[in-house]
């Protein structure tokens, strides 16, 4: 759980999110059991107000630059403002199934 904990801590510190879910989706992929390579992040934060989608992702990617350069191979991001989150009824989109592709990168 080390990578997951690091991701949670960095995002909690960097975004002060109202909602933060870091989901290890590595088990959906063609990697060894217990891997921490594929994550989905759902974050709801005031930090995203007035930011476009690309800017929101860049902000999260920046906070997690070390992890992305290292163990994390796939990072699915869903970043909402509190208002958007309420409008969605607190729902986020599921990740697609793995199609068996290659490892890192």
């Amino acid at each position: 759980m080390q990578v997951q904990t690091t991701i949670e801590q960095k995002l909690a510190a960097g975004l002060q999110p109202a909602v933060l879910q870091v989901i290890n989706e590595s088990g959906m992929h063609n990697v060894p059991a217990g891997s921490e390579s594929h994550f989905k992040v759902v974050a709801v934060s005031d930090a995203f107000v007035d930011l476009g989608l690309v800017q929101r992702h860049r902000q999260i990617n920046g906070l997690l630059a070390d992890e992305l350069a290292g163990p994390v191979h796939a990072l699915s991001l869903q970043a909402f403002t509190p208002e958007e989150w309420v409008a969605r009824g607190g729902q986020f989109d599921a990740s697609p199934d793995c199609l068996g592709g290659s490892s890192a990168g």
Binding site: L53, V54, N61, L68, A74, D93, S95, G101, S102
Partner: protein
Amino acid sequence: MDVNERIGNLISSNGVMLFMKGDRRFPMCGFSGQAIQLLESCGAVYETLNVLEDDEIRQGIKAYSSWPTIPQLYVGGEFVGGSDIMMSLHQQGELQRLIKETQTA
């Protein structure tokens, strides 16, 4: 020609250009597969490049747009985002509009 020139040529000569893992018939990653499904559902005319067969672009494309993951979509020469952003834009009808605009221009 260096890798940035190659990428620049690809995105300027193809109105809708997707850098992905695998190809449109056999995507090698769920996120790339989702990107293809979204482009197909928009009726897009698009080109793809399989980064698994081109390591120079696989690395270069991440630096090109300071974006750490693949797939990456470019429309009208501009970086749009990865599959999460494509999904969000599609839900808002924006992806369809963006592609239509490029393809009728």
